[in-house]
Structures are given as structure tokens and as C-alpha cells.
Symmetry: D2
Subunit: 233 residues, 4 copies
């Protein structure tokens, strides 16, 4: 019997409690919206975790059971316990996939895996974002088409201070005049890391069908950890 | 109903006819030995093609039906028709996987896809080759272990004049004192290309269980062409 | 006494003779405009060559004396002699730098070095192009600033069918909604290859100070062939 | 007047004080041997720093004046102050070059810049190491020849748990049967990082002429920080 990929969706879950504009879009929190569309595929076992839970929701058993961890944080990166960030990193080295969304670029775990500042330009406005699929043969780009538009998004601009990605899948165009490497992969130890840019908390990005498709694809890609398959080989 | 990956194993099939030492090892030709262990997995539909067939065995329908092409050539690279090499290249750009073995490094198709001379050092002797698995999390390295030995092999040494590989999976150590990047991947168009070094015609390399495992893994990896999967997504 | 870098600027030089709009911008040909600003630095020995000269202007002695070749072609890629394209390729493998401009992406020499179709989207219009400097520490980006604008340019859009560049230096934003990897490097043999996107024949791009700066930087970068320096080391 | 590259050679300087076998080879410490051959070129301003100095020898003014930092540590990685490691990292992001030698692979600064465990296999024995030059056109490989031998060295073996290097320049062959990626580069922020494998404390590796040549080349390469050159451009 085959093993269903186990995904843990981690949400900082602060904006949702304090900013009515965010609550209006994501009444149960962004992590629940993401968990919802992942569950709807019928292909994954999905759990959620949030900052304010004990051990930031990421106890050893939770991480040990996670094939893939999805991360959204913004306001409270510093409140994530250093030991928890180290624990996540060890699990990535063992082969857990990690999908870092949007403002997670400044999270402890992402900066620590990249070894760079992970800084970027940004502008909170009403830019339209067009995401170009520059590597259509990559599994994460499957079904995406040549580009897709998000009517309103926060702008992130280059230079994005990360190591050159192993694979560059998406580049964003913003109506205000900027570009950004919006879909990037890196290997770290046995783990696969994917950064996906969109997802400002006041916009319904994670309800957009193509953004959902990218995240679903990314979970499948990030879960391809041969550790779990060598046993029967 | 799922589609079985279709593999075409192309063999130059000249050494086997003219050199008794080769015939002794591969009485039906190397391509048949490779086809045999691929068929034995039950996971692929396998056909073979050889240089001396019409259109070098690679008519348009044959290539159109191939998800992955495996290539072994050595003596007669120049006898492959230019138009056939171009036809293969177009299929790679469309998404067909290509696995180039050993002396295929100097084939028209490989040189044309690399854009370099693809030259290397070599010594026909009785070196022992130890192949180190430097990217154990890669699907092509699944089940390979930390290294494996081939008791006798032709030596290939650096510098190997190829573009820097997208992924470097294996490095060979030779008892005579050389090293070689023995397992390398590149993307070309929508197609995935894998070069695997071992396979001198006078040694039973393609009967070695781990070498077979690598080729089986590589076929699965090279067949992951999202073109064929987007239809039903 | 130190050796001055020898640059050969190759121009197809057809638009300039037949299209008054081009002649108006580049009365002596684009190659002469490029040669002019390179000479003005006082740092290079500069010569020009054009398609309609014997051997397409690239005799063996001309290439042997070239540390760097700059290439602009568009209408007549097929008229470049196959043997001349091969000769250039051999020189690149020996260490000659190659800078391919704009529509040179479909030249024989560039396609042959890339091993891919080198195709892209395009639209001949009046887009504004903003070129973002995403690798400011690269020598080719020296003095470029965070971005620069070309008021009018032809649009080139992704996907650009090239192998993943070794270094991605510039990404273009177009007012019409597209993005493009506009400054890319690759190694081929001992030679360094740089592709620089801008330069539609009806716009004065090569008179733009920052575009000139990029090309000057690229010549210095592409000329760093250790072959010429090992003698005295 | 041109600026001479300022190099700081950092040595842990513990083995040299406690192990007579090391003192015999490097009576003044490895850092002094390295500083000596760098000074002998006449091309650099060279200073040294050691662990037991205040601020581990790396005060803000010392780092601010360093174009390149060379790092050798082994026994006492944990004794380097976290704040000093962070300070070095910031300087790398600003453009300082960093050359990490041998057992420095497990230093705080290197692990932090890589984002991985940086682990490897090792065996303290009398292996012969042959270092193959696989990227002869790289400035760091200038004058190195196709390979060079170190008669006795500690063995380091794959897998080396680092991100895929931007450039792979050297691969080592060990008489005991292992291979290792011995010369690797990565960009981090504006800084250039080079890891060079050889240099076990009981062997006179840093007195070997070709090893010295590699380090001299690497200093020149790592110092190419356009920040310092943009002012006058």
C-alpha cells in the first residue's frame, strides 16, 4: 500500500487575528485555506501548525511525520524559537521538503538554509503581478500555462539576495515596473526547497486556482525523497 | 489506465559483429542486454534500434513513440545520418529523455546538444573504477549506496569538455590515478539528458546490477515529461 | 608590455543598407557604432567584419587575432557559411570570448554553442524596456546601477529556450507585460559567452551610455582567457 | 595609484602550539607560512589574525580593511565568537572575498554561508592526493597544469554536504580510493567564496608550490569586488 504524502502547513497566524482586512480574506487563517485546497486533492495527509502553539506547533513527532513543510510568516520571524528553526533544518537535511511562501523569505529557517540575507525590494500597493513560466518542463510548472495574472499583489523586486537557484521556474512582472525571480528551487542536504513569491495577506492569492496548482505541484515535487523509497528497492 | 514508459535502446552494434572479445560478452549486442534488463522490470515497453537499419532504426514513428532514447555508439558516429541526429534533437526539445552511455560522448547527437567538443582523456586498460554517489538524494542515485566498483573498465579522465552539468550525481575514481564526472544531467528544451560513463564494450558492465539500477532509475527520471501528463491534469 | 585586448565587431550590415529607418540611426552600420565606442575607451584594439566580405570577414588570421568577437545578425543567419561558424566555435573553445547581441540569438554560432533552439517570444512595437541588474557584483554589471531604461525597444519574452545560464545578470521588464533574461553567461570550452538582449536595429540602443557600458564590461570579462596569461606566470 | 589587495590570513593556531609534529612543519604557525608566500608576490598587503587574540583577531577595523580573508581552523570552531562569525558574514555580503581551507569546512562562518552541514568523509592516513584541474580556463586554475600531486595528505571523501558549487574547479583523487570536490566557488551577497581542500596540519602542503599558486590565484579572484572599483568608473 502506498504512503500518502504528509504535509504540514505552518502559519504565523497573526495578521489574521489583528487585521480585519486579512480576516475578511482568510477568516480561518491562511494556513487553513492552504490546507483546505491540499486536502481537496485527496492526495495528501494534511495537518496545520501555528506560531503560538507549544514548540511553535512543530514538535519532533510532527516534523518526523512531515514529508513536506509549507511556511508562511511575516511579522514575527524572531518569535520562532531558534531550537525549532534548527530542528526544521535538520529535518530538511534528512529529506523533508520545504516550501517557503512570500514573506517567509525573511524567516529564520529560510535565511539559515540560504546563507544569505534574503533581502529584496518591496512596495505595498495594488500592483498587478504577471507570473511567467520560464521552465515549462519542470514538474512545479505543470499545468500552469505560459503565464498567469494576480490582479493585486504586493510588489517584490530584484535584487533578491539569495544564492543562484538550482532551477529558476517563474519570473514575475509587476505593473509598477519591477521583476522578481518568483519560483526558485535549491537542494539542501537531502531536502528540496522551493520559494514561491506570491501571497500578501490582504489579497486572496491562495484562493487563485493557478497559485494553488503551483503549490500542489510543489508539494509533490518536494516529497520525492528517495530515503522513503530505498527500503523497498 | 496509465501509460507505460516507452524506451528505445539504440546500439551501434558494430563491435559486437567484428570483435570476438565483444561478442563473447554481449552475444546479442549491448542494446539487447540493456533492453533485456529494462524489460525484466515489467515497467517499460522496450524496443531496440541499430545503426544499420533503415533510417538508423529511428524513423519518425519510432521516435514519436519513444519517451526515452538510450544511446551507445563508438566506431561509427560519423555514419549516423545528419538528418537523423537533427530528428532526435527535435524530439529531445519536445520532451523525449536521452541517456547517453560511455563512448556516446562523441556522438553527433550528444555533441550537438552540449555545444562543446565533449572530449576527454582515456586509456584502454584494466583499471578498476569506483563510482562515488555524490548526490544520494537524486532519483537516479536511488538504491546505489555510497559507491560501487566495476572491476575492469576503460579509463575516462578529466577534463571532460562539457558545459557544467545541471546536476552532478556520480564521480569516478580510477585505480590508475584519474577522476571523472560519470553521471551528469542537463536540460535541453523540454527534454532531460543524462550521461553515464561506464560501459566499455569488452567488459560486462551492463550486466552489473548497480549499473543496471542506475540506467533503470535514469529511464524513470528522463521520462518525467510533463507534456504527456498535462492533458489529464 | 601588456597586450591590448583585440575585439572584432561583426555586423550583418544588411538592414543598414536597405531600410532607411535603420540607416537614419546607424548611417555607418551598427558594427561601426559599436566599434567607435569601444575604441573611445582607449583600452582595446578594434576591428570590424561584415557578412558580405570574403569568408564573412572572418578569415583564420582575423579570428586568431581576436580575443573577443561581438556578433549582431538578424536577416541573413543562413548566409553565414557553415565552415565559418565552425571556425568561430573552435576559436571559442580555444578561449576567444563571444558576445552575442539581440537577434544574434538565432545565429548559427549561438545555437550551435547552446545546443538548444534559442527561440523566444517577440513583438516589434514601442515597448519601454527596463533592465534590472540582479547580480550587481558581477564585473559585467559594474557601474550599471540598479536598473536602466531604454525608451523604445523590441520586446523579447520568455520562455527563452537556452540552457540555464551559468550566471544570470540582467532581467528585462517590458511595458507590454513581458519579462526576459537579458544578460546571461555560459562557458563553452575555454571561451566565455555573453548574451545581451537589447539592440533592435531601428532604435539607438547602442548609443545609450549604459548599454555601451555593459558591452565594454563584457569585452573585458570575456577577454579573461588565462591561456594568454599563463606564459608569463 | 592603484590599491593593493589587502589579505588577512586567519589561523586557529592551536595545533602548532600543542603538537610537536605540527610545530616541526610550521614553526611559526600555518597562517605565517601562508602570509609569507603571499607577501613574497609583492602584490598584496598581508596581515595575520588568530583565535586567541582579542575579538579572535578580527576587530571591525581589521575586517573593514580586508579585501580577502583566508580561514584555517579545526580544533576550536566553537570557540570563535558567534558575533565575530556574524561580522565576517556581513563583510562577505558587502563584498569581501573568503577563502576557506581544509578543516575550515566545519567552521561557523563556512557552515553559515553554505546553509548545509558541510560534512564529509575523512581518514587520517598517508594517502597520496592527486588534484585534477577540471576547469583549466578558470582564473583560480591558472598555471596549475592538468593535475598536481601531494605526496601525503589527509583523505576527504564524498559526499561533501554543500550546495552545488557555482563553479567546480578541482576534483581530488586519493590513493585509498576516494574522490572529493576540492576546489569550489560560491557567491554569497557581493562576496566570492572559495573552498580549497588540502592542508592537513602535519603535512607541508602550504609549502607546495602549486598549492601556493592556487591560493595566490584565489586571492586575486576573490578580491574582484566591483564595489571598490565603481567609484572611479
Amino acid at each position: 500500500m502506498s504512503h500518502k504524502t504528509c504535509v504540514t502547513v505552518w502559519g504565523e497566524n497573526r495578521h489574521e487575528k489583528t487585521n480585519p482586512a486579512v480576516t475578511a480574506v482568510y477568516p480561518d487563517g491562511m494556513h487553513q485555506t492552504i490546507a483546505y485546497f491540499l486536502r481537496a486533492t485527496g492526495e495528501f495527509t494534511v495537518q496545520t501548525a501555528t506560531l503560538d502553539q507549544p514548540e511553535n506547533g512543530l514538535s519532533r513527532p510532527v516534523l518526523a511525520a512531515s514529508d513536506v513543510l509549507i511556511w508562511w510568516g511575516h511579522l514575527a520571524h524572531e518569535e520562532v524559537d531558534d531550537a525549532i528553526a534548527e530542528r526544521i533544518k535538520s529535518r530538511v537535511f534528512e529529506g523533508m521538503g520545504l516550501i517557503v511562501l512570500h514573506s517567509g523569505h525573511h524567516s529564520k529557517i529560510f535565511k539559515s538554509l540560504m546563507g544569505t540575507s534574503c533581502s529584496l525590494k518591496w512596495r505595498e500597493a495594488n500592483d498587478t503581478e504577471r507570473i511567467w513560466n520560464i521552465l515549462p518542463s519542470h514538474p512545479i510548472a505543470s499545468g500552469v500555462g505560459e503565464s498567469f495574472d494576480l490582479a493585486q499583489e504586493e510588489m517584490y523586486g530584484e535584487p533578491f539576495e539569495v544564492p543562484p537557484p538550482d532551477e529558476l521556474i517563474f519570473i514575475s512582472w509587476f505593473s509598477g515596473g519591477e521583476v522578481f525571480r518568483s519560483g526558485c528551487t535549491w537542494r539542501r542536504g537531502r531536502g528540496r526547497v522551493f520559494f514561491f513569491r506570491p501571497g500578501h495577506e490582504t489579497f486572496p492569492t491562495y484562493k487563485h486556482q493557478v497559485a494553488q496548482r503551483v503549490i500542489i505541484n510543489a508539494v509533490k515535487w518536494a516529497a520525492q525523497n528517495p530515503l522513503s523509497t530505498t527500503a523497498d528497492s
